[in-house]
Symmetry: C2
Subunit: 541 residues, 2 copies
């Protein structure tokens, strides 16, 4: 199952993109040397089963509370995963906040005043339609339940119902055939046209079979289920003490908009960026860390004035910035695409939304949403709090509520996208190997130091000396156990870009070390100063 290792073409595309980048949204091309990690093509994506097993085995991601049988929708990042996650967040913060002059950071609390969720519309509208099976007590998301009438020669002989999946059409057709045989109906079966349960008519609810029992009559009508986790703050447990775990970080930014304007020196246009946990009580969490109940967001609200030309320009600039950022952390260009929301799918206040889609193993799904939210959120907070959210426009001599462009990205989804792109199986010297081709910014360890043997004190001492020197600059691994080939494989699996081996030649002859490249497995010998220089060029990107 060897996978292609080539595809350096995307690197050229990135460099091109930067050369033509606007001066407002710069990613400091002079500093970055985009070492794009070559990745696989779509046909050879790892399966989710492979990724989940690999993550568990290598200490990247564990199911939460595993010793108690797990806890659906929650995950723990292990020693390797915690480093990767930190690196993703750190890269975003540096590029979004530190390396720009027009964006400041914020870190608001997860639990906020419940009035915020009233103003934002989440208390009234942040819900999924769900369906109960009264017999089995199972609960489904209505939009993940698909049904169709089974029609033979114009007569509806019953209904089939299946859970959303890649094979649901075939599954539904097989069930229809079975029904036709069972009822001994003659004639042509009309094509099965699946619709989701939110499109069912009232008279159909009682005729659609429950996926749990296979029998009709037990499914309820769809009902709205609010996705916010509720809790109570303070000693009393009553209506006044109800609070919510934030379902998005964005509102923490909006409610602090005036605070930031009043206490810092920002001027429109400017952005406020935030990274933090958010929670959604998903009815059916799925696809590993793609849709979990606890997740982390990296959101930025870019405040602008209200004219059309401005938001269209800023919208496009952010879309480009976001795509370029993904490339800069090693996401291959041909795994992402744009999904522009058609006008009829937009919220009434939205002027435009585009999702950057990624080719996950389970299909193309949303990775990064860039939304023009008008001034809906600030206006809502002004109305509900009675506090002005207006800015004075010096040029036009008038007050206005700024509009906003919001790029909202999930840390966990980015993590999964990076894993999907970086996971490779290839062959080295006739042996199969698993290698995580992570961008140096994302790799948990940047360098591993390997003394060839561990029973030669002078050699180990030299290796320690080099390790100490490297560790001052980068997060390094030390591995002195097992054969050198096996140690290389261990580092390949967790994505360490370079291994530095200290051998007999080092201490007895030339004082040089062997540097091995993870992706090409090529090796070269360098003296210590050249090593530092080489690694600095490759790693400090």
């Amino acid at each position: 199952m060897g996978m292609p290792v080539g595809r350096h073409t995307s690197m050229i595309a990135v460099i091109g993109a930067f050369a033509g980048g606007s001066s407002t949204f710069r990613l400091y091309p002079t500093r970055r040397r985009f070492i794009l990690t070559p990745s696989m093509s779509k046909q050879t994506l790892p399966t989710m089963e492979t990724l989940v097993g690999f993550c568990k085995r290598k200490g990247i991601i564990y199911p939460s509370s595993e010793i108690y049988g797990g806890y659906n929708g929650f995950f723990d990042y292990g020693p390797i995963g915690a480093e990767i996650k930190r690196n993703i967040k750190d890269a975003w913060w540096r590029d979004m906040v530190h390396r720009r002059d027009d964006i400041v950071g914020l870190d608001a609390s997860i639990i906020m005043h419940p009035a915020i969720w009233k103003a934002s519309g989440h208390i009234d509208g942040f819900s999924d339609p769900m369906v109960d099976c009264k017999t089995s007590k199972m609960r489904y998301r209505a939009d993940q339940l698909f049904f169709a009438p089974v029609i033979v020669e114009g007569e509806t002989i019953g209904y089939v119902c299946v859970l959303e999946s890649g094979g649901m059409q075939a599954e539904a057709e097989a069930a229809a055939e079975k029904m036709k045989r069972k009822l001994a109906k003659q004639g042509e079966l009309e094509p099965i046209k699946l619709k989701d349960y939110t499109a069912a008519r009232e008279d159909e609810y009682a005729r659609i079979p429950s996926p749990a029992t296979g029998e009709p009559g037990s499914l309820t009508a769809p009902r709205d289920f609010n996705l916010m986790f509720e809790t109570n703050v303070g000693a009393l447990r009553d209506a006044a003490s109800v609070a919510y775990l934030r379902p998005e970080t964005a509102q923490g930014i909006f409610q602090n908009f005036k605070n930031v304007v009043d206490t810092t020196r920002v001027k429109i246009p400017f952005g406020i960026a935030q990274i933090g946990k958010a929670f959604r009580n998903e009815i059916t969490p799925r696809n590993f860390i793609f849709r979990s109940r606890e997740f982390e967001q990296m959101e930025m609200e870019y405040f602008i004035d209200s004219d059309d030309a401005t938001w269209q320009k800023v919208y496009r600039e952010w879309l480009d910035w976001c795509k370029q950022w993904l490339l800069s952390i090693g996401i291959p260009e041909d795994m992402i695409s744009e999904d522009v929301h058609p006008p009829e799918k937009l919220s009434h206040y939205s002027k435009g939304t585009t999702d950057i889609m990624f080719e996950f193993p389970f299909g193309k799904q949303e990775l990064w949403g860039i939304a023009c939210r008008g001034n809906f959120d600030l206006t809502q907070h002004q109305q509900h709090s009675g506090k002005s959210m207006e800015i004075f426009d010096e040029a036009r001599k008038q007050k206005y509520i700024p509009h906003v462009v919001e790029p909202a990205l999930g840390v966990d989804r980015t993590f999964l996208a990076i894993l999907t792109a970086a996971y490779c199986e290839d062959e080295v010297d006739g042996d199969k190997r698993t290698v995580l081709k992570l961008h140096p910014r994302i790799a948990p360890y940047k360098v591993a130091v390997l003394p060839l043997v561990k029973n030669k004190p002078a050699l180990v001492e030299k290796a320690q000396e080099i390790y100490t020197r490297l560790q001052k600059r980068w997060h390094c691994a030390w591995d002195s156990a097992a054969a050198i080939g096996r140690r290389y494989r261990r580092q390949d699996e967790i994505g360490t870009p370079y291994c530095v081996t200290i051998d007999f030649e080092t201490i007895e002859q030339d004082n040089k070390v062997t540097v091995r490249d993870r992706d090409t497995t090529e090796q070269m010998r360098l003296n210590e100063d050249a090593l530092m220089q080489f690694l600095s060029e490759k790693l400090d990107v």
Copy 2:
């Protein structure tokens, strides 16, 4: 109100501590050049009122949900505060995880299986005693409510009750005097001896006046109130769906102990470190970010074998490590002290606990707890989950459950300690100034670049060039507005260690810039390369 700027003696103490540091617990003295920020002495600590106002004004910390009237016990970190908080966490992670070979990181979820909190004892025992006033509906923590009988010539004429505070003794005495006068009692008033409400006898409850109404008869007996925030996971809201927001990060480590042992190459002794949010539904949150309802912890569990000599040695080593770490981020040595818990105050499973105390403006309070928890937690999880937590000891050829030493530190408390130590008011050139003497690792901006004037293109261009170069290595501020003196003050207030000014001389004569030191306000002129060298020495510590 000039404050002393001296006290460099603590630096010598730190260097001494490192020279004698054990080799196991090293802080890489060769790398760190401890630029300890001189701080004030105890007599001149800022008041909490000063700090809270300052934090709001400078975009460091805002009350949460302020536009909706605030939300008791929750805080938002503004643009400056978010950077300081990041720097604290980053310094801890680097020193605790990256610069040690025996500790790995973890990032577990906030919501975990509820069985974990049964096993840990939190469901049954994590509570505070509270008292209700039935008349006012006010609720108090019993251990923060102080009462005393008022005794005149041996006769108890009534009770006084006050809320815990520095002045509560005087307050209680005044209330007793008033009662004596009101009841027209003659004779000597016996000394008022305050006890907290948990020590009240049953027959006293009805006689102790409520602090809300001043009248006796409305206070209830103390009742246990669990401090964990509750929520429901999944679509149903019943007993089986109850879950908790973690009240500490430690249990996320214990429940993953076996996962980490099985999927990484750690060997006893080793540690697992974690940074993350935790939540406690405090009845009376207070002292700003010292005791809030949502906070962030930096916890590490160090797993060791079980013999006495080992835990005593490791306990002492961690206590030293923690103190040294505090000094290394700028906490003055004479503001911290040790509080060794006496044996009778320890939990039944604990072998020893010491708190590192800090002189907060409201008194000496716990900053960092170092606890020897035996193998209580792992044993509990083994019993409750039925999964073995044992490790095989190769030397003794036997299995055992490892013991643990736990240094547990709050991010927010560390933040408040740093602010308390760093906040200074002094006089420069006859003007009062406020300066935040933050350690370079903690400072939100490391350097500010200031073009002397903004209407001279060549000068601004030169400044931009230097800014771009500096920004590649450090988080930098750019300020071109207002008189230079005012700009210096702005940077002093947010703790920027160095300002770099580009003036006419730079572009017309020597190509040198002026570097100004925040603490001494001393200035020197350097060329660009010397500037980079100087800043690297001062900042990369």
